[in-house]
Amino acid sequence: MATGGDITAGQAGLWETHHHHDTISTRTFGFWLYMLSDAMIFAGLFAAYVVLDHGYNAAGGPMGAALVHPGSAYAQTLAVFTSVLAYGGVMVALKRGSRGGVLAGLLVAAALGAVFLGLEVHDFIALFQAGIVPQRSGYLSAFFALVMTHGIHMAFGLIWMLTMFFQVAAQGFTDKTVYRLLNLKVFWHFQAVIWVLVFTFVYMRGVL
């Protein structure tokens, strides 16, 4: 809170001079709110998935065990977790004020995120070649919609990381770049959390 400035006698405490808001705290709080709305999108998609995860929604097509491979999904899990760990390195470097550390961490995190996406695309191509496509049944529509929405979020995170790489390289640590790095942290961790839920509800439950 700002303190009262040069206020004349008689009107003590009626007005504040030089009252400023903490930009970084406001912007990061606002981004948490945005993530709440993103969480609701996934909540809706998970609800749709659970509703459509029944034999009659598969319309004679394949269900969980026929299309999910926990092994390959486990590799994806490792990729996304190490990527989050690398982003943790970005935060440590930011605290130290090390621009090089932040840039290196961003590159590593982005590379591991790209590995995750590569594995997912590889999986999907194999499924498509086997005739397992979203148009086949209500169940498969829900499966692909859920996993792909997460994948699109990951891709968006990659674009953001590359943008931040060039921005930090060009502008260093300003209010704007700092709160964007903090927001990206929230975003990236959130995608990892969603992946844990996808892994549990789609991949592990699918093979049961």
């Binding site: 809170m1 700002a2 009262g4 040069d6 206020i7 004349t8 008689g10 009107q11 405490g13 009626l14 007005w15 504040e16 001079t17 030089h18 009252h19 808001h21 903490d22 705290s25 406001t26 912007r27 709080f29 606002g30 709110l33 945005y34 709440l36 709305s37 993103d38 609701m40 999108i41 909540a43 809706g44 998609l45 609800a47 749709a48 509703v51 459509l52 009659y56 929604n57 598969a58 319309a59 097509g61 979203p134 148009q135 086949r136 049944s137 209500g138 169940y139 498969l140 529509s141 829900a142 692909f144 919609a145 674009i159 943008t163 921005q167 060009a170 502008q171 300003t174 704007k176 964007r180």
Partner: protein, 692 residues
């Protein structure tokens, strides 16, 4: 991509000359809009106002101007939605019984069924999403930051993006009138009717993308308002001192932030069905139609409270001001707002009790729906006790607020009836339901009209004409009664909704009465426009000081009217819930500012408008399946956002000397207004504004 019926070309997608409707009614609407548009453009060019429009409005990031533009969009769409209502009423009056005449190619009445279906779909979509929502978002945008003593929103740039995305949605709906058609599946877009197999045209796509794009704006706006309220309050404004309208804005935006994404999912899944051929809501291959209804109403019911809570907040501001008494039961009012917001999430199934979810599920949702009556009842009593032993002055805003109270009683009690599944089964899908939810939405309209006349002088510096405002109120109220009381009655008699032809001629007297009611509405609109015209013409005589009504209670009445672009020259320190009353009682109301300081504000930018234009291209391309256009505009949006993020110099400094000049000019003007009204006996309540 799914193959669609009819011709398609890579350059224009499904668009061809055949998309222009060949219908005398639409031609008339087109001529009307075109003449109005040409007149507007002509006037702006003649008066040489393009530069001003561009600099002061189109590129602005000022929350007040953005709010005013939201309200203008909402009022224009309100008029469009009203014309739809007028057409539906006229059709139902004409098409009663087998012997009723037919015109313009219709067997009965003057609208063919497919056209009638589009009109009621457009009416619902427009009134909820492009009239009520933008006007309320606009009012919150204008008032909340001033009420909490902030100089701007938490995200001023994002605020402008939200505005332009809302404008894109409204524009898409207007384009659908003259190019292609609109959805014929009701504003709720029932599946599988909205699936490609049953709605092969572009109408459903217009409906879907208009809502989808504007909802992105609403969601961003909600995050922005919550962050503003939590982070930007003036020093001393603890939660227990937060003005009640701001409290309702907070609760309502929590609803918006959490519910609009679910709508995005419902429409998004419908979209992939329509564009990629998936099977979420199709009638075969494992689709589930009920899933759509659930997802839609999980948003839809919270949305109902999203529109009504700000109206409650407006009533809670207007009634204490004109009863000259503090709001009764502030704490219970806040608790009731949040109780309503919370319960809003557990009542959605009452929109389809008859779907067959079973007695246990229906019981749960029936009880949850009745529970809403408790916090709402608390509010009604609080308002009644605020008026009790107050000194009520019946100026226009107060009339609207009290009108809203009566609408709430009528709508609330019929709502309790509908909450009971046994009653609901017999009146489901009847016009009784239509009359019920229109009465509830009338609470919103009355609240909005009250709020517009209440805060108009704050934003523009002069009052609206009282005499014409009261005529507007009375004609509007007479119209409401004449339209909706017969509608309740005919609903009880078994008239179902969305009928382009009434088989039973005995219903005709009710339809005629409703037509009279819609005529009264039409007269009221004339008075509204006249009121605006006369008030703007006589603006110099109607100028007001900082505290326009003389008995304002909250912070927004502390700063000059019209509010300068920086809101407060110095940030006020807050001492009481009704800060202005506290200052008045301490004799501090007229206290001069101790000095001026430099103010840091965000600089205007055309980028949000550019993003809006690109989003319009994206939406248009999606509707007509012009893939090059969608790809280019989506890529351009992403690149624009990235490029903008590299701009560092987004703020400007307003010099203390300039602030001083503006303040002195506004306060001198306000002082003149105050003394002009001195003879009417309210001067003691004025800001002793004579401070030079």
């Amino acid at each position: 991509m799914v193959n669609v019926q009819g011709p398609w070309s890579p350059l224009l997608g499904r668009l061809s000359l055949g998309a222009i409707p060949n219908n005398p009614i639409i031609l008339g609407a087109f001529i009307f809009s075109a003449v109005l548009g040409v007149l507007l453009v002509g006037y702006v060019t003649y008066a040489d106002k393009w530069g001003v429009l561009w600099r002061e409005w189109f590129t602005t990031v000022d929350h007040k101007k953005i709010g005013v533009m939201y309200i203008v969009i909402g009022l224009v769409m309100l008029f469009r939605g009203f014309i739809d209502a007028l057409m539906m009423r006229t059709q139902q009056m004409l098409a009663d019984g087998p012997h009723s005449p037919g015109f313009l190619g219709a067997a009965h009445g003057y609208l063919v069924p497919y056209h009638f279906d589009q009109i009621y779909s457009a009416h619902g979509t427009i009134m909820i999403l492009f009239a009520a929502t933008p006007i309320l978002v606009g009012l919150m945008n204008v008032i909340v930051p001033i009420q909490i003593g902030a100089r701007d929103m938490a995200f001023p740039y994002l605020n402008a993006v939200g505005l332009w995305l809302t404008a894109v949605g409204a524009a898409l709906i207007m384009i659908s009138l003259f190019l292609g058609d609109f959805s014929h599946a009701g504003w709720v877009g029932l599946t599988p009717l909205t699936e490609l197999a049953y709605s092969p045209g572009v109408g459903t796509d217009y409906w879907m993308w208009a809502i989808q794009i504007s909802s992105v704006g609403t969601t961003l706006g909600a995050a922005n308002l919550i962050a503003t309220i939590v982070k930007m309050r003036a020093p001393g404004m603890t939660w227990s001192k937060l003005p009640i309208f701001t409290w309702t804005a907070l609760s309502t935006n929590i609803i918006a932030l959490t519910s609009f994404p679910v709508l995005a999912v419902a429409l998004g899944l419908l979209g992939v069905d329509r564009y990629f051929g998936t099977h979420f809501f199709t009638a075969g291959l494992g689709g589930n139609l009920m899933l759509y209804s659930d997802l839609f109403w999980i948003w839809g019911h919270p949305e109902v409270y999203f529109v009504i809570l700000p109206a409650f907040g407006m009533m809670s501001e207007i009634i204490p001001t004109f009863a000259e008494k503090a709001l009764f039961g502030y704490v219970t009012m806040v608790a009731a707002s949040f109780a309503i917001a919370g319960v809003s999430w557990s009542v959605w199934l009452h929109h389809f009790f008859t779907m067959g979810a079973g007695p246990r599920v229906n019981t749960f949702f029936s009880i949850a729906t009745m529970v809403v009556g408790i916090p709402t009842g608390v509010k009604v009593f609080n308002w009644a006790f605020t008026i009790f032993r107050g000194r009520s002055r019946f100026e226009t805003p107060m009339m609207w607020a009290i009108g809203a109270l009566f609408m709430l009683l009528l709508g609330g009690l019929t709502g309790m009836m509908l909450a009971m599944p046994p009653i609901n089964y017999s009146v489901h899908n009847s016009v009784f339901v239509v009359a019920h939810f229109h009465t509830m939405l009338m609470v919103v309209v009355y609240g909005i009209m009250g709020a517009v006349s209440y805060w108009f002088p704050k934003v523009f510096g002069f009052k609206l004409n009282e005499r014409l405002g009261k005529r507007f109120f009375w004609y509007f109220t007479a119209g409401t009664i004449m339209v909706f009381i017969p509608m309740y009655t005919s609903g009880f008699m078994g008239m179902t909704r969305r009928l382009d032809y009434l088989a039973n001629p005995a219903l005709m007297p009710f339809e005629v009465a409703e037509e009279v009611g819609i005529g009264l509405y039409l007269i009221s609109i004339v008075y509204f426009v006249l009121q605006l015209y006369v008030s703007i013409r006589d603006r110099v005589a109607n100028r007001v000081g900082a505290d326009a009504w003389g008995t304002g209670r909250t912070l927004e009445w502390l700063t000059p009217s019209p509010v300068p672009f920086y809101n407060f020259a110095l940030t006020p320190r807050v001492h009481a819930r009704d800060e202005l009353v506290w200052r008045r009682e301490q004799g501090l109301e007229g206290a001069a500012l101790p000095g001026y300081e430099d103010i840091l504000l965000p600089r205007n930018t055309p980028v949000p408008l550019l993003i809006g234009a690109l989003a319009l291209a994206l939406g248009f391309g999606l509707v007509w399946r012009i893939w090059w256009l969608t790809d280019v505009s989506l890529l351009a949006i992403v690149l624009t956002v990235i490029a903008r993020s590299f701009v560092q110099d987004t703020d400007m400094v307003v010099k203390a000397s300039e602030v001083e000049k503006i303040e002195q000019r506004l306060r001198a003007r306000g002082a003149g207004a105050a003394s002009a009204e001195g003879g009417r006996g309210v001067e003691i309540l004025r800001p002793s504004a004579s401070r030079p």
